[in-house]
Amino acid sequence: MTAKQELKKSIIASVWFMFLTFPIMVIKVNTVTHTIDWRWHNMALVGIGSFFLSMLWRYLLKKKEEGGKKDKKAGLSFIQRLLQEKQFALPGILIITLITILFPHIFSMYQTNIMTSALIFVVLGLGLNIVIGLAGLLVLGYAAFFAVGAYSYALLNLHYGVGFWIALPIGGILAALFGILLGYPVLRLRGDYLAIVTLGFGEIIRLVLENWNEFSFGPSGIKNIPKPGFFGIEMSMQTTTIYVFYIVVLLVVFTIFVINRLKNSRIGRAWVALKDDEIASQAMGIDKAKTKLRAFALGATWAGMAGVVFAAKTTFINPASFTLWESVIILCTVVLGGMGSIAGVIAGALLLILLPEYMRDFGEFRMITFGAVLILMMIFRPGGMIEDVRKTYKFEK
């Protein structure tokens, strides 16, 4: 392709975008004073911007295509190879352990707080990863299980004075029950029908919490949820923050451990088989209903536990924390990170939760950048940041 053609294409793109953004970027009407503000400088900006961006865009797309052809086979990225090398495993784990232990002491309480929230989303992402990444069931109402966990701790504590450590497994079990409750009727549904029913389920849970005042105290929520205790010792604000941080870290480690074991277990392989081909796996003797329900129940358990920790961390919950938007964000962490891959989901969750937090400096441009990042990431890395590497078995004679 010649430079002239390139130039022509960019000019077309530039004109097109100037046309496209004309009413919204250029004209601003004031319906009260009946005046129009013509902002022509915006048009110039869009024109020049799209001229250069379209060049960059085509260049990157071309590069992506070439790259795709070249190393289809050797497509493992640097990080993936790093993860597979056994010799880096031990020092890697040691370094990460050291950083997490020291983190709350090096950084301020604010940073620790943000990190704790991000880690809660790591647990959520890993939990959803069981349902979506492994079993291939698209769930759009995952926040419902999160809500079940959070409310079970808050309500049990309010009515019966149940402590954090007892509520943690109870929250998980209750969420699992809800998972089965949801999973049972939708066993026959596939793909997007499943997605929309789970979306509905999530909304039902939220709306019930919002409207049923006698049960959940409605939109004003539940206050004064106690922070986790440490053998009955009174702790200062700062110590508790750090303590909660460590609890979440332990929960993350536990989650990783369990999922790693699950992935290569009988159930895990059954999930993957079911995801790839339902009929073939049924023919191989996999009980479809049981396997799917297990995925729902196990996925929900983690959300429930994360919910309990969330309630204990914020000490205040209301239905506004469990909207469809939360479900969508959790889904994004899984897909953006790399479906099925543990390291990927962790990276995805940290990126998605920390990015908007640290982008506060961008001020009003925060969310628009976030949207653009999602699109660009998907276009240039459709498999996620760290793609899952399937275990391959070689048949040796």
Partner: protein, 302 residues
């Protein structure tokens, strides 16, 4: 039961259902062809409403007669929505044609966020008053409080759009190409159909109906803001699934059923649990008909 009350709820539900239908059509058409839940479709509806407002205000200030303003603003809204739909497909979905389906979904979510915030930044976060494009007119006097003139306008426009769309899909060249592509993309391509063009056309047509819905509802409730597309989009999506996603008559039927469900539930029971009921209804329908009311049941192949 009071018959007048019933008819009012009936027509209220019908109006609401018509709006859902106009948005749901875009969802279902796009889904029928590339199996993508276009999360950003609600934003197209919002952009249509915004363009309509901006153009109509500018034209009114220039002193155009009302009829000309309505026609021109409506046309501008449709043209711009189509342009946005087209561009959106080219940027966010086309490069992902062979990617995993969930990646496209995330890209759509990103697009939705981007467009919302684009309008927020370029225009305003406030609610803006939207002029009544349809002048209030008196008709059929003793019954006009049952069905107001804007509601009548919405209903008749929806009917016209449906008829036009049916003609487009059934009898035109591009309509036939769309049907062929949705049945088998590979086969359609082999038969000489330009699949990329068909997909673009689908986005354009879907965006046009959404824009019509956006302008109609904005002029009915009298205000718009950048967030209006999100909830309407979700509801329309539910309607499309209820009717059987991918099926055009299904989307209309699903939308009307959803509109009536909400309206009657609010009217006879309580609006507190309006949405809860709508979703429970959806779940029940899908349990008995897993592919929606009019959806083709998917044949599983080994």
């Amino acid at each position: 039961m009071d018959f007048e009350y019933f008819t009012q709820l009936f027509f209220g539900g019908l109006t609401r259902g018509s709006i859902y239908a106009l948005i749901a059509l875009g969802y279902t058409m796009v889904y029928g062809i590339i199996e993508l839940i276009n999360f950003a479709h609600g934003e197209i509806y919002m952009i249509g409403a915004f363009t309509g407002l901006i153009v109509s205000t500018v034209l009114t200030m220039m002193g155009m007669p009302t009829l000309a303003v309505v026609v021109l603003a409506g046309m501008a809204a449709i043209i711009y929505s189509c342009a946005y739909g087209y561009t959106m497909e080219k940027i966010a979905y086309k490069p992902l044609r062979n990617a995993p389906r969930l990646s496209v979904l995330i890209s759509a979510i990103g697009m939705s966020l981007f467009l919302q915030n684009y309008v927020l930044l370029a225009q305003t976060s406030d609610f803006l008053p939207f002029p009544s494009l349809v002048p209030e007119f008196e008709f059929w006097e003793p019954y006009s409080h049952i069905l107001t003139s804007p509601e009548l306008m919405i209903l008749s426009t929806t009917v016209v759009v449906m008829i036009l769309l049916t003609i487009l899909i059934k009898f035109t060249r591009i309509g036939k190409a769309m049907r062929a592509t949705s049945q088998d993309k590979m086969m359609a391509a082999l038969l000489g159909i330009n699949v990329d063009q068909v997909i673009s056309a689908t986005f354009v047509v879907g965006s046009a109906t959404a824009a019509i819905g956006g302008v109609l509802i904005a002029s009915h409730i009298g205000q718009i803001n950048f967030y209006m597309g999100f909830i309407a989009g979700i509801k329309a999506f539910v309607a499309a699934v209820l009717g059987g996603i991918g099926s055009i008559p299904g989307a209309v039927l699903g939308a009307l059923v959803l509109g009536w469900t909400e309206s009657f539930f609010t009217g006879y029971i309580s609006s507190d649990y309006e949405d809860v009921f709508a979703f429970i209804f959806l779940v029940v329908i899908l349990i008995f008909r897993p592919s929606g009311i009019l959806g083709r049941s998917q044949i599983q192949k080994v």
